[in-house]
Symmetry: C2
């Protein structure tokens, strides 16, 4: 999620927020109609936490599904309580009059399978045993995540999505979805993502997982207390925060860290020559803070499962080639990368674009200027708006059922 | 140290190796003439482990000091025993007929202060207590490292160095040395380095240290057994190997990892869909191996002290400006950076070059092509040779005492 290294100023104009929203829950894949996962295991029932904003037209032709990134959740826009008014993670993009215009479109976002924000994942109790799954949760893939989301969409009575939008792991879901269900999507927006995780990406995920599993409080994943939803109080807190700190560095660009923190000190104007001071530099203090905040809201086991799902993602390997994977859809693609994003560099987006062009599909690609590295897609809302708004308008014009 | 992702083939031509060499030890800063460290603490005696190759001329005008990087040691070239024949870490550059030609020059390299390869550091016993220092070892800086090396050089009877050569942390020592003793060096070679560690560099060091200090076997640094030199058997093994794995990723370029490992699997031709398999991808197996090998040869406390010394390094802050720091020397500089090195990107080398040019000093700068990222300076020997050989020859011609 966004680093908050440069959050856009909160929008005081209430008319531009969708306002009070609520997470909903639905049970899918109830036995005997359980989900067969890509790895062969079977899972069901699956509870899905999701939010919707705007109105679905009677023709059900205005639905847009938002796929969240690694540590996101279903809460894209608006706020959950009048008191806190903490906006959803992509509130700048989703709302009345915004790019994903809730006055025109019906927006859906769901927490991913294996996550920890309401959808079935390792911190949930296995109905068969009454105990939290822990590492007994089955192995999941990006494809499995997509299967659950597609089932949710169909359950809502929607056959075809006007749009499918996601960045990073969310972008992987967009690609996988279009490959699985090429006729289900009219416009596909894939931001700062890739058709396969790079070796460097696997490497960073590996060290993050290692930090978690090496923490003595990990206890082979059985660290939950009485209330497994309160994972923030127990478990491998050091390991998970360290994993987050490592990942967080990869989400920022060298230039943005340098500009924001440089070599500034946190509490003093002089060096203290004291090895025990762990957060003497501002950048250290910032990373520690990010790690600490993260463990309050995220489950370590979910982090293991979801990073591994990212590692496994390789669209060409699964479908024979990228052209095979992406050649069957008529969806209009918007692909963006960010020139300071070194975790998902532009070369990876260009591979997708190349495959789409070779398969004679409709694609617009832009390498966008931004200092914010991988996080850019969460921060540079104005840029995105200028691209997404006309794409959705044009697609809606073409596919609208009058 | 080199990643061994692409070690040059061992040189079978024995005539090009300096052959059997031995580490020597010397005691400096014996009380009452102890060393006052930059942080204000006092330390002495200091044992220094060093090696020399070649012959010092009677005029003592042919000495070249090699500054090693973060986890290096004094053993630059040759081998320590006829059986193992494991060459020193820069054997390709140092030897008879090589760039640092032991037939012509007298080469010196010493393990750094705070290290764990024979020079006084946290794993050594404090003579005052008989116990290993651990975290009671005083805080040290790059400047303190340089002071010890300069004292060693003077103790060897050498007033002026023909050359000073180092990469990464070694390059920082080169810069600091020239700033401290501008008249002591005739040629300064600074590779893949920087006049100050970037915020991103501090960030990666911070997570590495965090991995070590969060390991329950760290025990506030007092993890040594009866024989403190056997730190490989005790201490924060998980934490230190994790720190190394993180750092190792930063030493490689995205392109080199992709080319060497890509998404290849380690043991199988198919995915196993098993979260417990930690080293399914080759890159994971490689990183784990690197971590494991590292803890056999490096002390966790040294890692803490030396990475913090890097964090603190900021030549301009210490001297007012880079021009101030580097403007007093007549040394001929060779600065190189590597276009795939994202840990010490070229922009940082250019800052040094800019300061030297503005101060009207003699400098040659090249951004070299190499796929190997930060490790390039340890791997691309041929490139270096072509630059270093004429620089040293010309400098020697100018400053030779006939």
């Amino acid at each position: 999620m966004a680093s908050e290294i440069a959050q856009p100023a909160p929008d005081d104009d209430e008319s531009s927020s969708i306002g009070l929203v609520q997470t909903q829950f639905i049970k899918l894949f109830e036995p005997p109609h359980v989900l067969t996962l890509e790895g062969g295991q079977r899972l069901g029932p699956v509870t899905v936490a999701y939010e919707t904003y705007g109105e679905l037209t009677p023709a059900k032709d205005n639905a847009i599904f938002v796929c969240h990134a690694l540590t996101g959740d279903a809460h894209v826009a608006g706020w959950h309580s009048a008191e806190s008014r903490k906006p959803g993670w992509w509130d700048g993009l989703v709302g009345p009059g915004k790019a994903l215009d809730t006055n025109k479109y019906f927006i859906i976002c769901a927490n991913v399978l294996g996550g920890c924000q309401g959808t079935t994942g390792p911190s949930c109790r296995n109905p068969a045993t009454g105990q939290p799954y822990g590492l007994r949760f089955p192995f999941i893939t990006v494809g499995d995540i997509v299967e659950v989301h597609a089932a949710l969409v169909r359950k809502l009575g929607i056959e075809t999505l006007l749009g499918l939008v996601g960045g990073s792991l969310g972008g992987m879901q967009v690609l996988d979805w279009v490959a699985r269900y090429p006729k289900m999507v009219h416009a596909a927006v894939c931001l700062a993502s890739s058709a396969k995780l790079s070796a460097q990406g696997i490497a960073f995920n590996a060290v993050g997982r290692r930090a978690i599993t090496a923490d003595p409080d990990f206890k082979d994943g059985d660290y939950y207390g009485e209330d497994a939803s309160k994972y923030g109080d127990v478990g491998p807190r050091f390991g998970l925060s360290l994993a987050r700190m490592i990942a967080h560095i990869t989400y920022l660009s060298e230039a943005s860290i340098e500009r924001k923190f440089g070599r500034d000190l946190q509490h003093s104007d002089h060096l203290e020559y004291n090895l025990q001071k762990e957060t003497e530099f501002k950048i250290e203090s910032y990373l520690h803070y990010q790690g600490k905040r993260f463990i309050e809201r995220f489950d370590a086991n979910s982090y293991l499962y979801l990073t591994r799902a990212m590692d496994y993602f390789d669209l060409a390997a699964r479908h024979g080639s990228l052209q095979e994977a992406l050649g069957k859809t008529n969806a209009r693609f918007l692909i963006t990368s960010y020139h300071t994003d070194w975790l998902f560099p532009s070369i990876q987006s260009r591979e997708i674009v190349k495959a789409l062009v070779e398969a004679r599909r409709h694609v617009t690609y832009l390498e966008l200027e931004s200092v914010f590295g991988h996080d850019s897609f969460l921060i540079e809302i104005k840029q995105l708006e200028e691209l997404v708004t006309p794409l959705l308008a044009e697609t809606y014009r073409r596919h609208r059922t009058e």
